[in-house]
């Protein structure tokens, strides 16, 4: 039992005595907890929304039969409905309708209202009023909006929503707004007949939701379905579909969570650094306590109590800040922080276990951060520490072998493949490297000091002697900078590399002068070939290329990939795509690689993006079958191209081959090369003239698209920039805390130097040199460690998370400026602390704070 007085003496007293240091330690933990909790809450909200949206497509269905291409023959419906064990079936057709006069599209679900009720009890509750309403779901042109869609589109009952089919506009009348529980995602429901007829899907269905009779074996029904379904149709359960939807954004969410935990780790390291310095400064206090009868176990306990107190305060503050940041983020940016997985603002749903978990995490980080310093403090040799004039000895122990061992372990961990699709080994390697840098610090400090140039003048020599003599303080001061600075450097290099690669990619992939787009994958709007040809013949147009987008399911384990049918000359594909692998690299060319008459019978050449190559384990030369227009088409992978757009995989095919295989002549994008001197605004007007009145299309120049891409990138990486700032902030805390606490504890030394005849300016110069040397050593090691970590982020973590390759770009100017700022800050803190320590009467007034 520790007496309250002792608690006051050893825990509260020191915290009160050094309010600056205490506040900074609390803030460091609070920042970590706040970012961790905020990102977790935002991620969880995103996951909840994705999960609810996925589930709402199935209602209470036991099984679902789904198309993995653009749809399946509706004749399957009666066949499946008659299967033994199937109690009820609800057919649906689902697509994205391009909205007229608004940006984006709306998911529309065409349903049989009477069948649909069996799957959606909440929808059934509306059956009474619906049947008497003039806009009942069975009525043509009536649409029922989900609550979120109505809110976002600002539509009420009786309003009209204009949608585009091809280039024609069609009105849909809002017949009602569904309660939130009836449909969670942003969508509209309309009669299945209307949907098939108005949206060009006659005879096609997207999904059949099945309820099984009581006691029926799901496995048995799946077997029967498997026997009768074509290859382009799959069977799934609501749970499997939800997992699949969550998997799409999991890598993004996991990376954000990892970054947030890095912030918490940095906060924990700041606690370690400040606690270590405090323990060194308070070693005599610990010795006194031991001398008067406080056991070493009790001292350890007391030190940890102090850390726990800081951790609790930090956790409480961090939770309040985290909830605030999450609420703001959800309202301002959305649940996916701008990444595009969910749309619109979301509300925060706070759960006690999550808050408690982060409070405990903050507490644990503080305790773990203080554990080593506390153990050191409880083992101080009492007799020597009690001697008058005793100072902390230079008892740093070089641990070069351990550091090398950690680096070796990190290299081995990097060879481990991703775990469950997540780059966990990459993160483990980063943590090991950081630990190695910290463990290596004593050896590095010794090495750097040994080979440091001899500084001229007495102040320079005194400064170097001080750093050498107080190497343990120096090590701790530098370690704080290394952790935060290396993380910042790594993120800066990674983000710059990604941004520059994206910029280069947009320039390479956008060779035309103008892009006209009508609709995208799965959307109802498109240009018919006649309109596209008319655009090609407009004055000012030199030549055009046509693109068509479609969804294609390559594996039931993954979301549909994007099929891009574009004007492409197979032998010179590298001119149109940024190829990172090609059959040209192979010794044996696959079938279809050569032209000639035989090529018509050979597999169709396709080029897959890096995501598709990784997800489906495909390499140049591999053959596979694509479900196209209801049948399987043999294709051959001729190359892999770099792509930062299609996160579920993309396959490029020559449009002529696509048209031949599917008969689909529609066009989504027209790439236009203009004649010399032609005017872009005039061309835009001319295009508007050849398209039907009211038809909506996007008209973009490469500059527009580049700006939009980079803006989206910056929005997505806003959190990363915030984390970088936090790292810099904590780094500055660390260097300020380390140097100032050391300087303020050296009053007697400064007094002696003044007695020996050094002027205040000379002492100031000496401190500035010390600060500069310490800062420079921290920055040098931080740059090296950060550069290595950035390589892991670029070549391992990003590659495993998002399957994107990128080129290395180092923001040398930015890093040089930041390094200079950190070194200058270190020198400034040293000088300011020194002035405080030498300020005559003020010396007694100024507490040894920081």
């Amino acid at each position: 039992m520790i007496a309250p007085l002792l608690f006051d003496a050893a825990v509260i007293g020191p915290l009160r005595h050094s309010p600056g240091r205490t506040v900074l330690a609390v803030l460091a933990i609070a920042l970590g907890v706040a970012l961790g909790l905020a990102i977790h809450l935002i991620n969880r909200t995103a996951a909840d929304e994705i999960s609810l949206a996925a589930r709402s497509a199935y209602g209470v269905a036991d099984l679902a039969v789904e198309s993995i291409a653009s749809g399946f023959d509706e004749n399957l419906y009666p066949m499946i409905a008659r299967l033994p064990g199937v109690a009820a079936v609800s057919p649906e057709v689902e697509f994205e309708a391009k909205l007229v006069g608004r940006r984006g599209a709306l998911k529309l679900r065409g349903v049989d209202a009477f069948r649909f009720r069996a799957m959606q009890p909440q929808f059934a509750a509306l059956a009474g009023p619906m049947s008497h309403d003039s806009y009942a779901p069975t009525a043509a042109d009536a649409i029922y909006l989900s609550a979120s869609a109505a809110r976002e589109l600002a539509l009420n009952v009786g309003d009209t929503l204009m949608v585009q089919v091809g280039l024609q506009s069609h009105p849909l009348h809002v017949g009602g707004v569904l309660p939130q529980a009836a449909m969670e995602d942003r969508a509209g429901v309309l009669d299945i007949g209307t949907a098939q007829w108005k949206f060009g899907r006659l005879g096609q269905l997207s999904r059949l939701n099945l309820r099984l009779a009581q006691g029926t074996s799901e496995k048995r029904v799946r077997e029967m379905l498997a026997a009768m379904l074509p290859a382009t149709v799959r069977v799934t359960t609501p749970g499997e579909a939800t997992d699949e939807a969550l998997r799409l954004s999991r890598a993004y969410r996991s990376n954000l969570t990892a970054l947030a935990l890095v912030a918490l780790f940095t906060g924990g390291f700041f606690v370690y650094s400040t606690q270590s310095l405090a323990m060194l400064r308070r070693r005599r206090e610990f010795a006194i306590l031991h001398a008067i009868g406080v056991t070493r176990g009790e001292q350890l306990w007391l030190s940890l109590c102090g850390a726990a107190l800081s951790g609790l305060c930090g956790a409480a503050l961090g939770i309040a800040m985290g909830v605030g940041i999450a609420s703001f983020g959800l309202q301002a940016i959305g649940a996916d922080l701008g990444a595009g997985y969910v749309s619109g603002p979301s509300s925060l749903d706070l759960r006690l276990p999550e808050v408690a978990a982060f409070a405990i995490l903050g507490l644990l980080v503080a305790i773990v951060g203080a554990l080593r310093p506390a153990l050191d403090a409880s083992n101080i040799p009492t007799a020597s520490a009690l001697k008058a004039g005793d100072v902390a000895g230079d008892d740093i122990r070089p641990r070069g072998a351990l550091a090398l061992g950690l680096v070796g372990l990190a290299a081995m961990v990097l060879a481990v493949p991703p775990i469950d699709g997540l780059p966990l080994p990459g993160y483990a390697a980063i943590a090991l490297l950081l630990l190695a840098a910290i463990v290596a610090m004593p050896s590095l400090v010794r090495c750097l000091l040994r080979y440091a140039p001899r500084l001229p003048g007495v102040t320079g020599q005194l400064a170097m002697a001080q750093i050498w003599g107080a190497a343990r303080y120096a090590t701790l001061s530098i370690a704080a900078i290394i952790v935060s600075f290396s993380l910042m450097v790594s993120m800066a290099i990674m983000v710059t590399s990604f941004r520059q690669s994206l910029d280069s990619w947009t320039q390479k992939l956008l060779p035309a002068d103008v892009y006209v787009r009508a609709g995208y994958v799965g959307q109802t709007s498109y240009l018919d070939e006649h309109s596209a040809r008319q655009i090609a013949q407009l004055p000012g147009v030199e030549r055009v290329e046509f693109n068509r987008f479609a969804q294609i399911q390559l594996s039931s384990q993954f979301a549909p990939a994007t099929l891009i049918a574009r004007t492409l000359d197979p032998p010179s594909a590298e001119r149109a795509l940024w190829l990172v692998g090609s059959v040209a690299d192979l010794d044996h060319k696959p079938a279809g690689a050569s032209g000639g008459a035989a090529a018509a019978l050979q597999p169709v050449p396709v080029w897959i993006n890096e995501v598709a190559a990784d997800l489906f384990a495909l390499r140049p030369g591999d053959a596979l079958e694509l479900p196209l227009a209801g049948h399987q088409v043999a294709v051959s992978v001729h190359g892999i191209w770099r792509d930062y757009e299609h996160q579920n995989g993309a396959i490029v095919m020559n449009r002529d081959a696509y048209v031949r295989l599917t008969g689909d002549l529609a066009v989504n994008t027209v790439w236009i090369w203009m004649k010399e001197g032609a005017s872009v605004p005039a061309l835009q007007e001319a295009i508007r003239g050849v398209l039907p009145a009211g038809a909506e299309f996007d008209f973009r120049t490469p500059g527009d698209l580049r700006r939009m891409s980079l803006a989206a990138f910056d929005r997505t990486f806003a959190v990363t920039y915030l984390l970088e700032l936090v790292a810099v902030f904590i780094g500055l805390f660390g260097i300020a805390a380390g140097i100032s606490s050391q300087t303020l504890a050296r009053r007697a030394e400064f007094g002696a130097l003044r007695h020996l005849g050094l002027t205040r300016a000379q002492v100031g110069t000496m401190l500035a040199i010390e600060g500069t040397v310490l800062g420079a050593m921290g920055v040098a090691v931080g740059l090296l460690t950060g550069a290595i970590i950035s390589l892991i982020l670029i070549y391992v973590v990003n590659r495993q998370s998002f399957h994107w390759s990128m080129d290395l770009f180092v923001p040398a100017g930015w890093l040089a400026a930041l390094s200079g700022a950190l070194i200058a800050a270190a020198a400034l803190v040293a000088v300011v602390s020194g002035r405080q320590a030498m300020s005559g009467d003020a010396v007694r007034a100024v507490k040894e704070d920081w």
């Binding site: 039992m1 007496a3 309250p4 007085l5 002792l6 006051d8 003496a9 509260i12 007293g13 020191p14 009160r16 005595h17 005599r284 206090e285 010795a287 006194i288 306590l289 031991h290 001398a291 008067i292 009868g293 406080v294 056991t295 070493r296 176990g297 009492t382 007799a383 009690l386 001697k387 008058a388």
Partner: protein, 225 residues
């Protein structure tokens, strides 16, 4: 009460340095002795060994029949907590605590209840003439005042043995005389044994017996060469 027999203590280094070699000392309750010797003769080392802050290579230290050298650090610390008091040359008051709280600390460590602690703290501070400053921060006291508070702290829990290591080393002559008289008076009042390590003949003269520590061991001052 205290029996120190044939203590041997060396410190690692090049060359290997033997500080104490066959040192013995017997002390009865209420007996107050001074240990003198040249710098580096091992006076403070002897005190640290008796306090249990360090352990000898050989020899025995028995306090009230309990062998210190056989105890682990935690047991030695608990023994120090209950039966010993310390007065240091550099005072070593805890800077975050008030004068009264510093004196109360050993009582709190020994589980004395609040009322009895307050009573004893008042008694001790009155005895050392610091009652009026009881609420002051310890860092605001003069050297002499700090040492008086340190003596009150060392004796507050009625230890059987008080160890004083150069308690007047940082004080002027007047304050030193005052502190030495106070220490001697309080030891006698509580019938506690005391060991005073000092360079000062004046300080040593306030004790019952004077020992000199040399390379040949510890012996009465008269026996020294």
């Amino acid at each position: 009460m205290l029996r120190v027999e044939n203590l041997v203590k060396s410190f690692a280094g090049t060359p290997h340095r033997k500080v104490l070699d066959g040192v013995s000392l017997h002390l009865s309750a209420g007996e107050y002795v001074a240990v003198m010797g040249e710098s580096g003769s091992g006076k403070s080392t002897l005190l640290n060994l008796i306090a249990g802050l360090d352990i000898p290579q050989r020899g025995s230290i028995r306090l009230d029949g309990q062998e210190l050298t056989q105890l682990d650090d935690a047991s030695r610390t608990r023994l120090r907590r209950t039966r010993m008091g310390f007065v240091f040359q550099a005072f070593h008051l805890l800077p975050h605590l008030s004068v009264a709280s510093n004196v109360a600390l050993p009582l709190a460590l020994n589980g004395v209840n609040r009322d009895r602690t307050a009573e004893r703290v008042e008694e001790m501070l009155d005895a050392v003439g610091m009652l009026e400053r009881q609420h002051d921060a310890s860092s605001r006291l003069s050297g002499g005042e700090m040492q008086r508070v340190a003596i009150a702290r060392a004796l507050a829990h009625r230890p059987r043995l008080v160890l004083a290591d150069e308690p007047t080393g940082n004080l002027d002559a007047d304050s030193a005389a005052e502190v030495l008289a106070l220490l001697q008076r309080q030891l006698k009042h509580d019938n506690a044994a005391g060991i005073l390590v000092t360079h000062s003949e004046v300080a040593a003269a306030t004790t019952d017996r004077i020992y000199r520590l040399t390379r040949d061991g510890l012996g009465p001052r008269d026996a020294s060469p």
